[in-house]
């Protein structure tokens, strides 16, 4: 590139002015949430960003923000974006942090370039592309972060919504309700094995009468859970299998021979008690 950008020079020369002007833009923005972040914090983050921006520019690579030079800036933006996501900012509010630097920057570029229209146009372009990329990067990180938060909340909700019940000393029951997906099944099953260990229960009944359909992945998870329980020294019975699910299982070729299956929870409980050497009798009159 024949054009030698004045970007770094301008930022260095006008650093404190730039910061003030940028702070003004941010504070004036409708999207700023003063209730969540104090002016001091904002100033600190903004000045840090400018400092690291200068570092990145010094590396002479102004187009590829995935390069090593831009790592410190990316790290700052990533942690900034993550904390904003947690605080409840929207992605635009978060990206505005970077975008609102444009106006202050362009003003000073104009001052430096004076009559050199071509030089100014070139630098404005370089600056805008760079800040766009950085702003979009915050949005990406924000998305990932929100997804992580959502998935964590989902697992917490899962654990709460699938209680493991002790039907009798030594007999646990986990009634599965609703559609099962692979991830939910995994979480629920891990929870069951943990409870087996904690309560020392030899038998766990997995009741799926509340489950409308089962696919291969879910069936495999169930089988893995039965195997894992066996390794621990407990046994699993699966009850509440509907005719539809039975057909699906056979159709999918899932091997259930090793697993004791019962149509109803009641029969499963019967097997469980018998296995433990217990019997239910009518009381003598």
């Amino acid at each position: 590139m024949a054009h030698k950008t004045k970007l770094g020079e301008v930022i260095r020369k006008y650093e404190s002015e730039l910061l003030e002007h940028w702070m003004k833009e941010q504070l004036a923005a409708v999207t700023l949430r003063r209730d969540i972040m104090s002016e001091d914090e904002l100033r600190q983050q903004s000045s840090e960003f400018i400092r690291l921006l200068l570092q990145g520019i010094a590396g002479d690579n102004l187009t590829d923000i995935t390069a090593q030079d831009w790592a410190p800036v990316r790290e700052l933006l990533a942690s900034f974006s993550k904390s904003r996501a947690q605080q409840g900012y929207s992605p635009s509010e978060t990206a505005t942090f970077v975008f609102s630097l444009k106006q202050p920057l362009f003003d000073r570029l104009r001052k430096e370039h004076g009559k050199d229209a071509d030089g100014l146009a070139e630098d404005v372009w370089v600056a805008t592309v760079l800040l766009d990329k950085l702003g979009l990067y915050t949005t990406e990180v924000y998305q990932q972060s929100r997804e992580q938060i959502i998935s964590r909340q989902q697992s917490e909700l899962l654990e709460l919504s699938t209680p493991v019940v002790q039907l009798w000393p030594g007999v646990l029951c986990i009634p599965l309700i609703g559609t099962l997906d692979s991830e939910r099944t995994q979480v629920v099953m891990e929870n069951l094995l943990q409870k087996i260990s904690e309560t020392g229960s030899q038998i766990a009944i997995i009741d799926i009468s509340g489950v409308p359909a089962v696919d291969t992945l879910v069936a495999q998870h169930l089988l893995k859970t039965v195997s894992a329980a066996r390794l621990m020294g407990a046994d699993c019975l699966v009850s509440g299998i509907s005719p539809q699910i039975a057909q699906t299982v056979v159709h999918l070729g899932v091997k259930l021979q090793d697993v004791t299956t019962k149509a109803s929870l009641a029969s499963a409980l019967d097997v469980a008690l018998r296995t433990l050497g217990l019997e239910v009798k009518n009381r003598q009159r």
Partner: protein, 131 residues
């Protein structure tokens, strides 16, 4: 050389594995157990792995081997206390530990061993869930 202690409890041997064993230590345990089964005419071996946080294919194979060797020497083997995370991992790894009886804890493991003696002398035939 460090060894894992083997305790005698009547007709049975009890081993508690509490350290992250390196391969040689595991092999030594296997040999020591076989020697003791013969020496003490033991009828059962109980291996407590409730402290083991990792069981890889090497340890898994060792446990299966101990069970096979003991059976030839007329002793039953029960592995007790496997942690849930370990069980899940072993299943994913593809290890079924064929031929190894398991129980949730030492007490239940002892019941299995005692029952196996009972069956031999013509006791009743409850199918035990852990089998």
């Amino acid at each position: 050389m460090e060894r894992i202690p083997i305790l005698k409890m009547g007709p049975f041997l009890l081993v508690t594995i509490q350290v992250d064993m390196h391969d040689r230590l595991a092999e030594t345990l296997q040999r020591d157990l076989s020697d003791r089964v013969v020496k003490d005419c033991s009828r059962g071996v109980l291996i407590d792995i409730s402290s083991l946080e990792v069981v890889d294919s090497f340890i898994g194979r060792m446990l299966a081997r101990i069970a096979s060797i003991s059976r030839i020497l007329d002793a039953e083997t029960v592995v007790v206390g496997m942690q849930p995370a370990v069980a899940i991992t072993l299943v994913e790894l593809g290890m079924s530990l064929e031929g190894v009886k398991t129980a949730l804890d030492v007490e239940k493991g002892m019941q299995i061993l005692q029952r196996s003696l009972g069956i031999e002398t013509g006791g009743d035939e409850d199918a035990h869930p852990a089998e």
